[in-house]
Amino acid sequence: MMTPELTQSFWMYSIFAALLFIVGLYCILATFNLIRVLIGVEILIKASTLLIIVCGNITGHQALAQAIAVTLIVIEVVIVVVAGGVILCLFKHNHSIDTRKLKNLKG
């Protein structure tokens, strides 16, 4: 059974992660700039990293949580690099990274 202090801190961190998730989601939905969309995805991944670490800390499986968080960070970097490459290719073809101007799949 968890102590009340531990329960309280767990829910506080969980609420913080939920708010971070809302910010990332809003950023993705509200912007038309592809680089800002990528920043929104980054914020979403950060929220999930925080939640994994908090769960590891609460359950006492810190090593496992850290291993999963490190894997998540590696995947995050690859996502940023590949998405950045795609954005640059789109810019080369369309001279814009505004999603409203990307209307054809041919590039």
Binding site: M2, Y13, Q62, G84
Partner: protein, 142 residues
Amino acid sequence: MTTRLLRSVVGLALTSAILSIIIFQLNSPVAAVFELSVCAGLIPVIFITAISFTQRIAKSQLQERRRERLTRFFLLPVIVIIAGLALLRWLKIPALVLPSADGAGDVRLLFWNVRHLDLLGQIVVLLAGAFAVVVLFKEPRK
């Protein structure tokens, strides 16, 4: 436009730095160091490189875009505050029953001795990313 994007990237780096402090406070130093070095160090460099390859928006459009962005984003702080207050007010906190803890353990030993597939997955993802970048930036043959 570019200045605004750079500010967004600096904000993201600051978020990563703050998150790494929180992770360090939660007794996870290895993940905190990774978060600080990779997410607050490497990823902003990638973003700034990508932004430097794009071009600045025309001054005539700048004011209009700024106004448009303000109308889209002014709701964000309101939504965050309302969601935070709602979660604090109505979220019932149940007493969680936890599984038995196996102790903190050593993350390095866990990585090398138990989580082999994670390492394999990371290597595959990194190679796939490198391959994707090579394909994306390949110049067409003349």
